[in-house]
């Protein structure tokens, strides 16, 4: 069966360091992959989308890689700040046609300490 896995253990890092979060998936070949941020009690907020033919995508301090051979995406936050503390969700499109149905991983909680 198809699975999306993110490290369920919280990631604690010091301010200024680079945070790297992992998303692995199995038995699936998505056309793209998305990353969202979720704060406690709030809805997910879209961060980045990377397509299967793109190796890397950047937006300000964020960088995403997508390795379709390894079936893995890495999400990096450089020069991390306490305000980056949140849960980060990986999401893949699923479903017939292009309905936009997203399947989410369980998320990795990032804690950036000052």
């Amino acid at each position: 069966s198809q699975k999306i896995e993110q490290n369920s253990e919280a990631l604690n890092i010091q301010e200024g360091k680079t945070a790297t979060l992992t998303c692995n998936y199995t038995n699936y070949s998505p056309a793209y992959l998305q990353w969202y941020r979720q704060d406690p009690g709030r809805g997910p907020v879209f961060l980045l989308l990377i397509r299967e033919n793109e190796k890397e995508k950047r937006k300000e301090r964020l960088k995403v890689t997508f390795d379709t051979t390894l079936k893995q995406s890495l999400f990096h936050i450089t020069a991390s700040q306490p305000a980056d503390s949140a849960t980060y969700l990986c999401a893949l499109p699923r479903g017939s046609g292009n309905t936009g149905k997203l399947i989410f991983g369980q998320g990795t909680t990032l804690q950036v300490k000052p």
Binding site: R42, V45, F46, G100
Partner: protein, 117 residues
């Protein structure tokens, strides 16, 4: 900046009662969704809606659930007879067709916390 809004923010209801959760998607978006998140668990897809009809639904979205876009702005989720296990955060989302059609990044509302007692 345009945003998706949802009301109410918190709804408490008794088992067996009907609830209607309301959403106002971003105005030029064409795809609409409901997701739910049980406390401590993943965000789960419930249903997608496009061109005034359901385009896909999950196994969770059984006959107790229905969606409607009664006018040009609102998008509602109705649960006919709530169960204890329906207690969750319900998120509405919307998106605009991407390049080549289809939906890509989704914009989520702040959620409605539904508590069934």
């Amino acid at each position: 900046e345009p945003e998706v809004t949802q009301t109410p923010s918190h709804q408490v209801t008794q088992m067996g009662q009907e609830v209607i959760l309301r959403c106002v998607p971003i105005s030029n978006h064409l795809y609409f969704y409901w997701y739910r998140q049980i406390l401590g668990q993943k965000v789960e897809f419930l249903v997608s809606f496009y061109n005034n009809e359901i385009s896909e639904k999950s196994e969770i979205f059984d006959d107790q659930f229905s969606v409607e876009r009664p006018d040009g702005s609102n998008f509602t989720l109705k649960i006919r007879s709530t169960k204890l296990e329906d207690s969750a955060m319900y998120f509405c989302a919307s998106s605009f067709p991407g390049q080549g059609g289809g939906s890509y990044e989704q914009y989520f509302g702040p959620g409605t916390r539904l508590t069934v007692t």
